[in-house]
Symmetry: C2
DNA sequence: GTGAAAGCGCTAACAT
DNA sequence: ATGTTAGCGCTTTCAC
């Protein structure tokens, strides 16, 4: 059952090469290259015109393989997402794709499933592809990551910071402030003993949120008892929320709001509450605020994270030839209040 | 010969090349190439071992640029999605990524925004990248598509068929049967005059669903009056549903169920109903059945489309050296009944 | 201002 | 069974 490779002759609709353009324009390939790469003061206006003409006529596009081979660098940018099923990741990926495209870069999307082994596999692959940069949507610590850190390929961490270097390139929100915002809002609206449901603390974002919330409530004189702080009992965010809500009910916990470190967790918790014998209606807070929330979760107050603008920030970081000073883009968030009147 | 080190920019953590492997293993680069590509009967077991050893020691991965240049074909597979914000597209992309990965292929994800111009731009780019195959998640008619059809690059159409060739490679469900299933189910449960809200009929999938539903009801002696068939008044699926539901209310239409050609449309319609003065509770049908539905839309009966298996089918189509007979993968769907008891 | 030519890493003919 | 070698398309000295 051998997998035969396709014959070596995909050459069919022979794609024009730089040589064809040169011939047609009556110049050398070197000249074509210079014109196309905008090397200044290196071609007469007349030559430039002839080259452009030929390019247009042949619908020529430089072969990326040739270019990459020569330059030892491709136009590929890898985006390694921890979990593509998460709408949040998909949203960031979408915005990143648009922004990269505007810079003539191409996005390669990979799902690491939060698995260090798989992440490394992708990192190796991307090294072979000579990727221009690598974007992590939820990085996990791994050997190859350690190896590539400091290397020539820019590594950009979105949402979750580089687990091995808190000063690495970063795009995200101020999670400490966001946590405080939620706590402040809750306190201002009479909430005194919320239950706090959170994802694994391995993520710097989750950690910051949890700490900020806990500290804010403590500072306000309403410390959250440990029994009301529930960690991940499951793998999926949805399941985490569901399980936590069940646990709260089973233990007969007394709480006046639910604060979740992610909207999906809130979805899970809400579902359990809705399914229970006599659903209670209490404020629920989350983070992310997917646009879909307006439609499917009008009961959820959530910290709106501007994922649609993340891509732009990522692209800028890549463009700013890594020399630039501040390698950090902290974007503005906003708490969307959807408490039921 | 000399080990000349051309001082090109990104030269840093010098990635091992086939020459390095050859040197280390004490063989020629041709032998290394043969071993790595599994050319049978062409190397002694001992040589193979030495080569593999060297490969492991150097953590060598063949440069894709070199390979692509030589073979005139890259390992990139482009996925052109009409709208990445749609969770459905994201789900297909995710499953495709996994399946491609297993074949050593790499997914490039692009969002065409359903725009022919942009789709063509991507097609040109992917030609320059010498993509192995191109996967359309909702193709739109465009000049470059016409040009590439019949070319050497496999084109695979998911969900929506090739707008220019109904016989092109296809992965999806039997939309006619799915439409009938919904109608049959509705009829069996006493529904006699449903309102039908649909997306633009430009999509072959939508068209098939609408026709099947209309015909089924007509055949059962309960034809759906034109006034109850609402087309797209907006651009987004969510907005389509919302606007349609509003229209129905304004016109005081009399209907006993809502059938939507997509879950997002159903979300929109449901939202309007919920927001209205006295929300009515009536059966709502959709198509897609995102896994999130169990959590956020327990009121929605929907045709479960196995998007998680689409990727596998796509990958198979790509692997099957395009000679293979049936270039069509019609996958099984299933109506999930979530009517409120 | 322009051209000739040397490779970048790889595979496949063609030797041996 | 293994080595030699000719390019694939491109950028970039180095000549002129």
């Amino acid at each position: 059952m051998t997998m035969r490779r396709t014959a070596l002759k995909p050459a069919d609709a022979q794609q024009a090469s730089i040589a064809n353009v040169a011939e047609r324009a009556g110049v050398s390939i070197a000249t074509v290259s210079r014109v196309l790469n905008g090397i200044a003061n290196k071609a007469s206006p007349e030559t430039v015109a002839r080259v452009r003409q030929a390019v247009a006529e042949l619908d020529y596009r430089p072969s990326s393989a040739g270019k990459s081979l020569r330059q030892r660098q491709s136009r590929l940018v890898a985006v390694l997402a921890a979990n593509l099923a998460n709408p949040t990741m998909a949203a960031i990926a979408a915005s990143t794709e648009v922004a990269l495209r505007q810079q003539g870069l191409v996005m390669v999307l990979c799902d690491t499933h939060d698995d260090p082994k798989l992440q490394d596999e992708y990192l190796r692959e991307m090294r072979a592809q000579q990727a221009r940069a690598i974007v992590f949507l939820g990085a996990v610590a791994s050997p190859m990551l350690d190896l590539m850190r400091g290397g020539p390929t820019p590594l950009i961490f979105v949402n979750r910071r580089d687990p091995g270097d808190p000063n690495g390139d970063f795009v995200g929100i101020d999670n400490v402030q966001a946590g405080r915002d939620v706590a402040t809002h809750a306190l201002a609206h009479g909430i005194r003993h919320p239950a706090l449901i959170h994802a694994p603390l391995a993520s710097s974002a989750t950690r910051a949120r949890v700490e900020a919330i806990v500290e804010s409530f403590a500072a306000a004189g309403h410390p959250i008892p440990p029994s009301l702080v529930l960690g991940p009992a499951e793998k999926e965010h949805l399941a985490i929320g569901y399980a936590a809500a069940r646990l709260l009910q089973r233990d007969g916990a007394d709480y006046d709001a639910l604060i979740c470190t992610g909207d999906l967790i809130a979805f899970g918790a809400h579902r359990f509450i809705e399914e229970s014998a006599r659903p209670v209606s209490l404020p629920i807070y989350g983070f992310d605020d997917n646009p879909l929330n307006d439609w499917v979760a009008p009961w959820l107050s959530s910290v709106l994270i501007p994922y649609g603008t993340f891509g732009q920030a990522v692209a800028e970081l890549i463009a700013e030839d890594r020399e630039g000073g501040d390698r950090e883009r902290v974007l503005p968030h906003k708490l969307v209040d959807r408490r039921r009147s």
